[in-house]
């Protein structure tokens, strides 16, 4: 029978969770309630004695100091409406999993496979709530119908003896595993129907290649030998679709593109990826010669660069956009624990040292009506932040760097970038740590979580409605603890030399992880029926491509399998032997001894036909706006500081543990009150060395509205500028490019596809040219190419966005520099030239203009400047350094001053401009490659000497009076504001988020 244990707070104990829910219901839905109380519910579906359930309720499930409990009777009383929210069948229930383990310690033996604990939360609402309002609260805030279900009971209808009826959300499936044969000798229309209805996302050309494969007599002969027929099985078709998917094969980045630059000049680009991304890394590495620090690029789950003689540095950044749109919490949580597995599964495995996160959202204060199926940006904001918080904090990995970009077009698809860096031994058992190789005869071990229907077909919106009893497949919820246990185990297994190769199970699940590792040996044999399942009823193809989280695939030599499994068992980690790597040349899966896939490895990995794309650039007519300068520049500056893209993100940053592992020496919040905005983070990963890592990023999607070429250039420059500002070595830095685009393939649904493809080409050209000019190799990256929302006639496309992350080394963390002004009397310098470059700037946007003059990057002068900045840092000549980005000089001055708790008096007339500019343009131009620096007067001569011949302007000095005073071009005071007022304007907008 099922037991229901309810746990509530004792009289007089503050219900902080209930209070928060009440507050947020008001903020999100505008519904004011008198009170919200919460009760935790554990539904135990197991054969247990009353005594054991009593012990569990008393012990692990409740806290005797603050909570009471009830078994099989309700605790709830005195409310107007009760809403109980629980998971749908098959959705990861982490609390339920932990409860089950806790029960096992009490009963002293493992529970049966079908026995489990399911958790839900009861919200007791007091206030005036009618039926509709209750449903709005449940659907609009407390629950998410994709993964959760709820019961609403008005107080008057509540039975005080029986309470809420017991429901056990167990997956009920009577499906018998079977393998279907698909007849591909059909018409083109029929081929496309097979692709569409199977959510295979294969185009006609690809389907025809598969058709031809199936019809090849030689292939047929081979297949018949292993007991198959000529037609492909559903397992094979799914394996091909997965391997050939945009997600795995990056077909757009590998496409042959015919690019017309708009002036009639055309060229053919054979793969953007090979030409520009791989191309620039090859050329930069060649130019660096013996100073090349790249160790492993583009071939593994993450890029690897040299750190020192003993350690190598690994970094990867991923996106998790679509899942986060559906279920912001689960999507983002999975995003972070998912990207954790990439560096972990690079080379022979690496220990995670920090996370980064960058989000692109619509305004949380968005007031327009939303198209169907879109969640409100505020809900997305809250959910994503909480997901990354839980993912990062619980995994024990500090989140050290990030940002949030706001643009209302991200209502269509939020962008959730998550990055993770790791450290691996440079040498492991006498071999380079970044090299791995599965050998013929190695066993295929799957480690970690079990397989369910999670994430099958990725996050494709399934046309099928979710119904009671059907597991949710569209979204996954990460489980940081299962993953953490697995990592603890694998690091020990690595150090004991128990495996030859490792990779993570992400997109494509086993199909992709085993398929990729088997490229080392040239084949494998995988027994799908041996895989441990979360529940029965999975079809063989589902087992093969499930994206269930927290799993790694490991190649274990025959003589070490026993030791590997024994160690796993002792550490409470599941490890299962699923087959062997061989050199058969075949992708060979079996189910209960019967062959279900038999595909040549070569066909699988090389068979996908190259996509052809048309790209046509058009010079669009942009104009600079005409308007008169605002009269009150104090107010204008305050308004700029309160812009969502500029204001403080402290409320979010504080929710991330940014110091765990005790290596974060430059934290995201700096300054006299620990609340100034750091440009970049500095990490000291080894406690016995002063060597460090700097991580930073650039992201400038607004510039894409004018020209993606300059957007890309500015993002690169911004990343490097932030990096250099804190002390990062410009000659030892690598880049990672993460493209998020809207669909660039011309079609009926995308009539401007050729233009979007041209935008993509231009961004790639800039990527090549600027990385080459700055000497920055790219070590890893990713693309997400379909960030559009389209339902009915409503289409929202995100602005083309590239996150450019940078990571590099510093020799001595003690030379690190922060952005806050340090002491009165210090001199204030601006490095770089200011131009009439306000196109797509925050200032123009605030005034409702786009403009034309997008900032352009002069890499040669920037590189010289950054090298000199490094010199000044080495010599200890800089008291502070802050990059100029959104909002330009005006914002940088204010931030530097209030972060330091000091005033600043500067003269705008001293700013070096390339032409005569108006005061507002000087203040808010976003010209690239500029830095604001403060210098102690004793260091003036040495500092100025370092920058001799470069653009260096002495603007004024830091003052004790806590006043930002800016003298205008005519000599009159343009801005005179107390730093507390500026700081308040900057802190207020997102303070309560």
């Amino acid at each position: 029978m099922a037991w229901r244990v309810e746990v509530g707070l004792k009289e007089g104990i503050r219900d902080a969770r209930g209070e928060r829910v009440k507050r947020e219901i008001h903020e999100h839905l505008g519904i004011a309630l008198d009170q919200v109380k919460t009760i935790d519910v554990y539904t135990i579906d197991a054969d247990l004695s009353q005594q054991v359930v009593e012990a569990a309720a008393q012990g692990p499930f409740s806290d005797p100091v603050i909570q009471n409990y009830a078994i099989n009777r309700p605790l709830a009383s005195q409310f107007d409406v009760l809403i109980e929210v629980g998971f749908r069948p098959g959705v990861t229930d982490n609390v339920g999993r932990t409860s089950r383990e806790a029960l096992q310690y009490l009963v002293g033996h493992p529970l049966d496979a079908h026995e489990g604990v399911f958790t839900s939360v009861q919200y007791l609402l007091t206030g005036r709530i009618d039926e509709d309002t209750a449903e709005r609260i449940a659907a609009g805030f407390l629950g998410n119908s994709l993964i959760q279900r709820w019961t609403i009971i008005p107080g008057a209808d509540f039975n005080r003896n029986t309470g809420v009826p017991v429901t056990v959300p167990r997956v009920v499936s009577t499906a018998e595993p079977k393998v279907l044969e698909i007849d591909l000798n059909v018409s083109d229309e029929e081929l496309m129907r097979i692709s569409r209805e199977g959510v295979l996302a294969l185009n006609l050309e690809e389907m025809k290649v598969i058709q031809a494969f199936a019809n090849d007599p030689q292939n047929q002969a081979e297949r018949i030998k292993v007991g198959l027929t000529a037609g492909l099985t559903d397992v094979e078709l799914e394996a091909l679709a997965q391997t050939w998917s945009e997600h795995c094969k990056h077909k757009i980045f590998s496409a042959k593109i015919n690019y017309d630059d708009g002036t009639g000049h055309t060229e053919t680009i054979d793969s953007l990826f090979k030409t520009f991304i791989v191309g620039v890394t090859r050329d930069v590495r060649a130019a660096k010669g013996k100073d090349d620090f790249c160790l492993s690029v583009f071939k593994d789950n993450a890029g690897v660069i040299r750190f020192n003689d003993d350690w190598s540095l690994v970094f990867k950044v991923e996106t998790h956009n679509s899942p986060s749109a559906l279920d912001p919490y689960g999507g983002a949580l999975t995003g972070i624990v998912g990207v954790n597995r990439d560096p972990f599964g690079t080379g022979m495995g690496a220990r995670l040292i920090f996370n980064t996160d960058v989000f692109c959202f619509a305004s949380p204060f968005y007031k327009e009506p939303l198209p169907p199926r879109l969640l409100h940006p505020r809900r997305i904001f809250e959910g994503v932040v909480e997901g990354v918080e839980h993912g990062g904090n619980k995994s024990g990995v500090p989140t050290v760097n990030g940002s949030i970009v706001f643009d209302d077009r991200f209502a269509g698809k939020p962008l959730v970038y998550c990055g993770t860096a790791a450290l691996m031994p440079a040498k492991l058992h006498g071999k380079p740590g970044h090299v791995k190789l599965a050998r013929v005869g190695d066993h295929i071990l799957m480690v970690g979580g079990r397989i369910g229907k999670d994430g099958i077909h990725g996050a494709t919106f399934s046309s099928e409605e979710l119904h009671e009893g059907s597991p949710a497949t569209a979204v996954q919820i990460g489980d940081p603890i299962t993953q953490k246990r697995m990592f603890d185990f694998l690091i020990i297994a690595r150090d004991r030399g128990l495996y030859n190769s490792i990779t993570d199970n992400g997109a494509g699940g086993l199909s992709s992880s085993v398929g990729e590792m088997a490229e080392d040996t040239g084949g494998f044999e995988l027994h799908l029926d041996r895989a441990p399942l979360k529940y029965s009823g999975l079809q063989p193809w589902e087992i093969l491509i499930s994206e269930a989280q927290e799993r790694m695939t490991v190649a274990v030599p025959d003589d070490k399998v026993e030791a590997f499994i024994a160690l796993a068992k002792e550490m409470d980690v599941e490890a299962t032997d699923l087959g062997v790597f061989n050199d058969s040349g075949y992708y060979h899966c079996l189910y209960k001894g019967k062959t279900v896939t038999y595909l040549p490895m070569e066909f699988l990995h090389q068979g996908v036909p190259q996509l052809n794309l048309q790209a046509r650039w058009e010079e669009r007519e942009f104009q600079e706006p005409e308007f008169s300068q605002p009269l009150d520049m104090n107010a204008t500056l305050r308004h700029m500081l309160a812009r969502l893209n500029i204001c403080s993100k402290e409320s979010v940053v504080r929710r991330y543990d940014h110091e765990v592992q005790a290596g974060t020496v430059l934290k995201p919040l700096v300054g006299v009150a620990n609340d100034g905005p750091a440009d970049a983070a500095m990490i000291r990963p080894l406690p016995d060395s002063f060597e460090g890592i700097v991580v930073a990023h650039g992201i400038t999607p607004s510039y894409s509205d004018i020209d993606t070429y300059h957007m890309m250039a500015c993002a690169i420059d911004e990343g490097l500028r932030n990096y250099v500002a804190v002390g990062g070595n410009i000659d030892h830095v690598a880049g990672l490019d993460n493209f998020c685009w809207c669909d660039p393939v011309q079609s009926e649904r995308t009539p401007d596809g050729e233009y979007k493809a041209a935008q993509l080409v231009r961004a790639n050209k800039a990527l090549y040219e600027y990385c080459l000019a700055f000497g920055v190799p790219l070590i890893s990256g990713k693309d997400s190419m379909k960030n559009d929302y389209q339902i009915g006639n409503t289409k929202i496309s995100i602005p083309p966005t590239v996150l450019f992350s940078v990571i590099g080394k510093v020799d001595d963390i003690r030379k690190g520099v922060t952005m806050d002004a340090k002491r009165p009397g210090d001199l204030v310098y601006l490095l770089g030239t200011t131009r009439n470059e306000l196109g797509a700037s925050e200032y123009y946007d605030m005034l409702g203009h786009l403009g034309k003059n997008v900032p352009k990057v002069d890499a040669a002068s920037a590189l010289q400047r950054y090298r000199s900045v490094n010199q000044a840092q080495k010599l200890g000549l800089m008291a502070s350094c802050h990059d100029l980005s959104d909002g330009g000089l005006g914002v940088a001055l204010a931030e530097t001053a209030f972060a330091g708790g000091l005033g600043m008096h500067v003269d705008l007339g001293k700013v070096k401009c390339n032409e005569v500019l108006r005061e507002d343009a000087v203040l808010f131009s976003e010209s690239a490659s500029r830095l604001l620096v403060t210098v102690r007067p004793d260091n003036q001569a040495a500092f100025e000497e370092l920058f001799a011949g470069q653009d260096l302007c002495l603007l004024g000095s830091v003052t004790e009076d806590k006043e930002l005073r800016i003298i205008g071009l005519g000599g009159a005071i343009l801005v005179r504001a107390h730093i507390d007022d500026l700081k308040e304007a900057w802190q207020a907008p997102l303070r309560e988020m």
């Binding site: 104990i13 902080a16 969770r17 209070e19 928060r20 012990g59 692990p60 499930f61 806290d63 005797p64 100091v65 603050i66 982490n94 609390v95 999993r97 932990t98 409860s99 383990e101 806790a102 310690y105 009490l106 002293g108 918080e389 904090n393 619980k394 024990g396 489980d479 940081p480 603890i481 953490k484 246990r485 603890d488 020990i492 002792e570 550490m571 409470d572 504080r654 929710r655 991330y656 543990d657 940014h658 110091e659 765990v660 592992q661 005790a662 290596g663 020496v665 700096v670 300054g671 006299v672 620990n674 000291r684 406690p687 963390i813 003690r814 690190g816 922060t818 806050d820 340090k822 330091g900």
Partner: protein, 275 residues
């Protein structure tokens, strides 16, 4: 060999701070510091008795899924040692009875409180105190100031007046089961570290200096022997000046971080009393 200070840091199931904790203990002067996965203790291969100083480090045991450290406490109380009749909890009682030291930080402190090891007012280790959700309902990372009670029996805080450390928790609010419990804690000076003003002059209930609304501003507790000690803030996160959030502007910060003092005291005590 017998003159070595031997410390153990338990790892596994969501413990996150074992490495930096081990580093801090080493800097504090211990000769042997072992990071031991809990499975090693449960297999019987490693014994607690071989150590003087047990460290329960920060993290999220079992994800804090049943409330902070609840499932972790359940494991330590009930998990059997392989191929034996004994439980880890019995080994732990023996360790305490031998007068050895235990320090729990953050999740480790939550674990000690929920196992009844702190403040341990009765002899039966029944739970009288808990650590629960911060008043603002959120996890937060921020630096706080702590005032030490000079009259406390705590051996870890000897000689300390005040100390600044980071807190990084969502469940750090100390709550007691009765006024009597609080009165005993205060009388016996067991609430040894309290959230206070930046000049260490007075304790405070005001957010954010008191980051969670803790009863009587208590951030750290010890038992009557002073040998069992736990605190929410992270001493292992401040062992060098570059850990301090303002090291780039406060030029007179000593090289050594304040958190180190707690570990130095522990090692000194063991050397004087237990070796």
């Amino acid at each position: 060999m017998s003159k070595q200070v031997r410390a153990i840091v338990i790892a596994g199931n969501g413990t996150n701070c074992e490495r930096e904790t081990a580093h801090a203990i080493r800097l504090g002067g211990a000769e042997v510091v072992d990071i031991v996965h809990i499975s090693e203790l449960l297999s019987g291969r490693v014994q607690l008795q071989g150590y003087h100083f047990l460290n329960l480090a920060g993290g999220f045991l079992d994800g804090d899924d049943l409330g902070s450290a609840k499932a972790g406490a359940n494991r330590l109380l009930h998990a059997p040692i392989k191929d034996s009749e004994e439980h880890l909890s019995e080994h732990l009682r023996k360790f305490i009875a031998d007068g050895k030291l235990i320090m729990g930080v953050c999740n480790g402190f939550q674990l000690m409180v929920k196992m009844g090891l702190l403040p341990a007012l009765g002899k039966d280790f029944s739970q009288t105190t808990t650590l629960t959700f911060n008043d603002n309902g959120r996890f937060e990372d921020r630096w706080v100031y702590l005032k030490a009670d000079p009259a406390s029996p705590c051996i870890f805080t000897r000689g300390l007046d005040g100390i600044t450390l980071p807190v990084r928790h969502g469940e750090g609010k100390l709550v007691v089961d009765s006024d009597a419990t609080l009165a005993t804690i205060e009388e016996k000076h067991l609430g040894v570290l309290k959230y206070c003003l930046p000049d260490y002059s007075a304790t405070t209930q005001d957010y954010p200096l008191n980051p969670n609304g803790s009863t009587a501003a208590i951030a750290g507790l010890c038992d009557e022997t002073g040998r069992l000690f736990g605190l929410m803030p992270h001493p292992e996160a401040y062992v060098h000046r570059t850990h301090h959030p303002r090291w780039t502007r406060e030029e007179d910060l000593p090289e050594e971080g304040m958190g180190l003092w707690l570990y130095q005291n522990a090692v000194r005590f063991i050397r004087d009393e237990l070796l």
